[in-house]
Symmetry: C2
Subunit: 496 residues, 2 copies
């Protein structure tokens, strides 16, 4: 595969000088058009030591408008990065709408280095590549243009380059001699990884780097063509108002018994007496505080997700839960409609940003599940978008869990009758009126649609590492205690 | 001072139970009203070891809506924090409009600890407190309500508490015995610091912590009263549309010779030939790259600020400058009108956020000087706001410079005639038309106002640690080279 990149392509000085001005003008034009269209571009640059990866980034900065482009190096992670899942450092560097980011190495760097230096087992390699493929797919589906370049150098040329280059943190080898000696090993691993990750969404381009004029122009043309194609595609879609056909949905028999949902199995009759409530609350507060300090010591990060019907008591439950935690350790993060800035990124971006440091607790007051609940039911995203969200969410939570994370998800459930009662109470109590809006009434009418959405959400995203807990809050006290018990039990099970 | 907080105030259980519900309801109400009014609240909690500082934060979380409040502990700084000026970690934790933040210790913690353990000299203490006073003043002026609490314990009570408390990172002493031994020293330093920082903008409240019911209720009432007062004041101001009278402005004689500005002293005739330009550019590129890698090694952070007339060639100059830097080391950060999210914070917040890590370069394409230029001239902020901005900006830049930072500021200057020529050229060249907007023409008409604003800005914010460079770009090539030379020289002077 890589040997085919030793065929000696080159560009003479005169040709370079002739071709460059037009290439630059078109690149600038394409960059501006992409900015206006709000499309993001991600360029990943990898290659052999000495192939000039940083030079190429510089060239692109020079050719394009540097205000719309940023190069990211992922050298040693900071401690803030180490305390979050591995991909956090990449998410924080992703380009927003209309921007371009260049990743030097990016998520390939560590895998390649570990391949070469630690000889990863095939299954380990596969496991390491899974989130890479997933993330690229997810970004591409969200209209990010992804291009990956591998720069190849023939042996002789590499030898010559390394002889008069000084070492930088980009290098994979301690010395030029080591790099040459490890050259074959790197090629083997690069071929393996490139082949496995060369997808239509995020293709690899292998470019001969021996002649720097050829290298730079080939990079520029490849990038330009991809940008222009993306723009054309964007325009065509807009003109035809075309949307990809959504994937198949579950279709149900008409009989009502066939339309039962997981929510129908929740015991809404569960109750707790006042006295019992106060006693349990005090017990659980002590337990939870103790467990959370243990979790802090063990650097176990807790992610608590709250969803539920309007007026199901989400706010009150979170407040009681918060009252049982140390203010130094937790944060409640409420989510409403995304801001314009948040809309410039993938919908998961605003949740990735808020992942807490190791050993802390994040309480998500509404969450990424908005994608498959309100956004689905209200048509705020396309069917294709919410349908792929289940998989995206599962992968996201798997990454949280794998990084020493405890992920618990709560759906607070009440009957439509109880909801009506609470709505009316809110409307009739002056100091509760602010809690009820016309939107709540509209949502209420759509309950059957939401019930199906909840059912599908629970079916498709309930997992051992991020389980759903359906909590009846018909009796608020019972619900609050069940939540506290669930959190305490899960922490205990994990920490013991 | 602190001994007066040993008078034995207390609240009985029955009184506590009677008073609490109403206090909580009013606190919640005030919190909601502040959120709606978009006013931020900052609570700083400090005190003796054992006085229950964290407990109080917990109590406030419990009493208020935890969704609108966040407690920040400032234990060991992360490496990302250490690489920026000391106050960066506080700026990133500041509450936005409508939010409340509790700082445990906050910017007082290290000063107190160093006072006690390192016996700071009086001048050192004063120097350490200067940015504290400055930052509190700046936030208070920007409508942040600031309350600072000091919790005091009599000796006996402290002894009892510390006996059965286990140590946390909050503690200033390695053991309970040491804390008791150091008690007097801490009191001395606390008194000194409290007295020096007890301002009308950000007052200290000294609260007896021996009786926890008294401690918590007194905190709650003090906070409540401050919130309610702030709300009332906010309403009154809105109703009367009152604005504080701005501070005095410089007033000029009428003679035109008296209205000369610093810009009139710039030599617009400076020129550079094509050949000379290309040669110097190549030389300076090599120099700059080399200096910036040296700066990276020395962890010297470079902040380059670009302001200038429309069409003065800011974009082109930045592009040439960027072409001379390694893409791995710099970032261009363009600033337009602030987003709604940015408007929820102090105007300096969006610049603090973008301070690069140690050894990197930030190129600010427009900057915090917008406050005293466009915002001043267009009336986008009040006169009082832009008038105090000079001092705020000077302090901000002093912090950047003091943290091993090089700060250089460029004003790109052209004559009104040249500007007109460029505007017309843009209008008549199809692929340049996007660069010219009706706003540019409007700004042009206001040139005399902008000239006075520039003059005052340069006069008041030019300093040895953050100098202004007025660059004539009537001849673009000359201007670009001058900028490069200035950056190279400043780096060299600093690094040699």
């Amino acid at each position: 595969m890589l040997n085919t990149a030793e065929i000696g392509r080159r560009v003479g000085k005169a040709d370079y000088k002739r071709e460059l001005p037009q290439l630059r003008t078109r690149l600038l034009e394409a960059q501006r058009a992409l900015r206006e269209a709000g499309l993001a571009t991600l360029v990943i640059i990898e290659g052999m030591d000495g192939s000039g990866r940083a030079e190429i980034a510089n060239r692109l900065h020079e050719w394009l408008d540097p205000r719309g482009i940023q190069t990211h190096i992922f050298w040693d992670p900071s401690d803030e990065e180490r305390e979050r899942p591995y991909f956090w450092r990449f998410w924080r560097a992703l380009p927003g709408a209309g921007e371009m980011a260049i990743f030097l190495g990016g998520w390939y760097r560590d895998i390649l280095t570990d391949g070469v230096h630690k000889e990863l087992e095939p299954e380990t390699l596969e496991a390491r590549l899974a989130p890479v493929l997933h993330t690229e797919g997810l970004l591409a589906a969200d209209r990010t243009l992804i291009l990956k370049f591998w720069y190849h150098l023939p042996r002789k040329e590499q030898e010559a380059r390394l002889a008069h280059e000084h070492r930088t943190p980009d290098d994979r080898w301690p010395s030029a001699a080591a790099a040459l000696k490890g050259r074959k090993l790197l090629k083997t691993w690069a071929e393996r990884i490139l082949r496995r990750t060369d997808t239509a969404d995020a293709p690899w381009f292998i470019i001969e780097a021996a002649d720097t004029r050829y290298r730079d122009l080939a990079t520029g043309y490849t990038l330009l063509e991809a940008m222009e194609k993306r723009l054309k595609e964007h325009q065509t879609h807009r003109e035809r108002r075309e949307r990809p056909l959504p994937p198949p949905e579950p279709a149900l028999p008409k009989a009502e018994s066939a339309r039962v949902t997981v929510l129908d199995r929740v015991d809404l009759g569960a109750k707790l007496s006042d006295a019992r409530y106060e006693k349990r609350l005090a017990q659980l507060r002590d337990q939870l505080r103790q467990q959370l300090w243990r979790a802090h010591g063990a650097k176990l990060t807790t992610h608590l997700v709250f969803e539920g019907w309007d007026a199901a008591g989400k706010g009150g439950a979170i407040q009681r839960l918060a009252g049982c935690m140390d203010a130094r350790l937790y944060r409640v993060i409420p989510y409403g409609a995304p801001s314009s800035h948040e809309l410039e990124h993938h919908y998961l971006w605003r949740f990735w940003r808020q992942i807490p440091r190791a050993g802390r607790v994040a309480v998500f007051d509404r969450s990424w599940y908005g994608r498959v609940l309100v956004e689905r039911v209200e048509g705020l995203c396309t069917p294709a978008e919410w349908q792929r969200a289940y998989h995206e969410i599962n992968q996201f939570e798997a990454q949280l869990a794998a990084h020493n994370g405890l992920v618990l998800k709560f759906w607070l459930h009440i009957s439509p009758e109880e909801q009506l009662r609470r709505f009316e109470e809110r409307q009739n109590t002056p100091w509760k009126q602010y809690k009820i809006t016309p939107e709540d009434w509209r949502n209420r009418e759509k309950r059957p649609l939401y019930e199906q959405a909840v059912n599908e959400m629970v079916l498709r995203t309930d997992s051992p590492e991020a389980p759903w807990h359906l909590i009846p809050t018909e009796d608020k006290r019972y619900g609050r205690i069940r939540i506290l018990e669930t959190v305490c039990e899960a922490l205990k099970a994990r920490l013991d």
